[in-house]
């Protein structure tokens, strides 16, 4: 038990370093001109990878039960649905400003 936890603690440290590297990369890439869409896309990809590390390791989703996966799957479905509906509806909206 204690040894398993020790191994996990070492993993947390590696995840911490990866998140730090991701943060530095996010800032560095923002200074490279990839066009507005390109910069947004790259920043979103890096943020998603960082978020995945947090969810999988710090929040232990990697070892979680099926119930949690089901809750998350339903949440992701509805959240993406909300984004999709927003984007689709934008065609009907004049400029906000």
């Amino acid at each position: 038990m204690s040894e398993d936890i020790q191994k996990q603690v070492q993993k947390y440290l590696l995840v911490f370093y990866a998140l730090l590297a991701g943060t530095v990369l996010t800032v560095a890439v923002s200074y490279v001109d990839l066009g507005q869409t390109g910069n947004i896309f790259v920043a979103f990809i890096i943020a998603s990878v960082k978020a995945s590390l947090v969810v999988l390791f710090f929040m232990h989703l990697i070892h979680e039960k099926r119930t949690v996966y089901m809750i998350m799957a339903v949440t992701v479905f509805f959240c993406l649905g909300m984004f999709l509906i927003t984007m689709v509806s934008m065609a009907d909206v004049p400029n906000i400003r």
Partner: protein
């Protein structure tokens, strides 16, 4: 009569009560912040070309706050891991470090708010500032809530360790899940508001 499954997992879900509760709560939080992120996309995409404000914030401060929150996520899991190993003293130390990280985050955010207000940037000034203050304000509120719970479990709540250590460990795990979610939201807010 004792409430069942406060410590041991339910056989059908495989989870104890508080854990299923926090995951359901986090699901609602995803929708809350998701709606605000949707608003961001809509307002930004709907803005006339070249009118969306960029480079308005101090990137080094946002960077430091990102590092501080990531570090606090590590200290929370360290606190939980130490409880699992039966070391309450070290666990409380890491809880204290987490609280300190939260405090540093809020101090930096307060300085940023003060700076923006003194330059007459208010939520009513521009859609960008409306989103900035709404998103970061709601996020800061979550940080404060997390800190209040951590302070309780570091202080008076820690007495549960003597009577029911497993349940206390579970409580730290549950508040830790909330805290990681707060970190996760900031991971998206930082590039969105500071860099793009």
């Amino acid at each position: 009569m004792d409430i069942p499954y406060t410590v041991k997992p339910r056989p059908d879900t495989g989870l104890y009560n508080a854990k299923i509760g926090i995951w359901l709560f986090l699901a609602s939080e995803v929708m809350l912040f998701g709606a605000l992120f949707s608003s961001y996309i809509m307002l930004r995409a709907g803005a006339e070309p070249g009118t969306w404000l960029t480079n308005q914030l101090q990137v080094p401060l946002g960077f430091i706050n990102t590092v501080v929150l990531i570090a606090s996520s590590v200290t929370v899991v360290y606190a939980w891991a130490n409880l699992k190993m039966g070391n309450i003293a070290r666990a409380r130390f890491f809880l204290l470090v987490t609280i300190a990280c939260g405090l540093v985050f809020l101090l930096i955010k307060s300085y940023e708010y003060y700076h923006k207000f003194s330059h007459h940037h208010y939520p009513s000034t521009d859609p960008y500032w409306a989103l900035y203050f709404t998103l970061t304000g709601l996020h800061a509120f979550h940080v404060i809530c997390g800190m209040v719970v951590f302070v309780y479990f570091w202080g008076p709540g820690a007495s549960m360790w003597k009577t029911d250590p497993e349940r206390y460990t579970n409580r730290i795990e549950v508040v830790g899940l909330f805290w990681h979610f707060v970190d996760l939201v900031w991971i998206f807010l930082f590039p969105l508001l500071y860099l793009l």
